[in-house]
Symmetry: C2
DNA sequence: CAGAATCCGGTATGATACTG
DNA sequence: CAGTATCATACCGGATTCTG
């Protein structure tokens, strides 16, 4: 038998929850590539997401230790976000995803085309 | 400038959509590890998902060419699902996720603990 | 500027009953 | 058995407004 329940069926469940909630990948990639950024700047570079949702995601990423938040109680206030070492350690994961995509996305699109029949 | 819009912010968007919709990872992993399975068997091994949702996911995976569906119009009817070569090609991706998790999940949990303060 | 608070609608998901 | 159909709901995610 090969049945240890749902946990065995998806041993990678935890990572998926941590890394692939919506908007988390563009956030992590942007902070990874562009370095420390203020809130507005990050917001601008990602695009399409509302401030509320972006804030929510950043909080979660901060909680999980993937990004750091530095707040300056000035006028106007400022908040800067930066990816952590732990966040950077996801590089190989993103690299493998990018590799798979560049190699196989065409096949997926072809399959979708065929499916319309 | 480093701003080519949302696409540049998340170049891996397409793969993420294809592979990390809910329940897709346990489905793919189970079919990868256990081979061709009928609907009920697959349903039983995954657990926690309803037949409706499982059907939806399988349709989508079939459409994307990651899984094949073979239907037998017998009595009682039978449907067998199997992962495709394209689906198997995701192995390295899952491997990198598993590796990251086994190495860094502890740090995430530690960060979460610290965050409660 | 950075974000909190509030309200609201759509989609995803779930439970249940039914069909070939 | 392998779904589909229907209904209910829960959870994002978005728009708007407000505050320090």
């Amino acid at each position: 038998m090969n049945d240890d329940g749902p946990v065995a069926a998806c041993p990678i469940g935890p990572v998926v929850d941590i890394v692939f909630s919506r908007w988390t990948t563009p956030i992590l990639l942007t902070l990874h590539n562009d370095g420390r950024l203020r809130f507005v700047e990050l917001h601008r570079r990602i695009g399409g997401v509302t401030a509320k949702v972006l804030t929510d995601r950043l909080r979660r990423l901060e909680r999980d230790g993937l990004v750091t938040r530095t707040y300056f109680a000035e006028v106007p206030p400022r908040a800067e976000y930066e990816i952590t070492e732990l966040g950077r350690s996801l590089s190989p994961v993103f690299a493998s995803l990018a590799a798979w995509q560049s190699e196989h996305l065409g096949e997926v699109e072809a399959a979708r085309g065929r499916f319309e029949a």
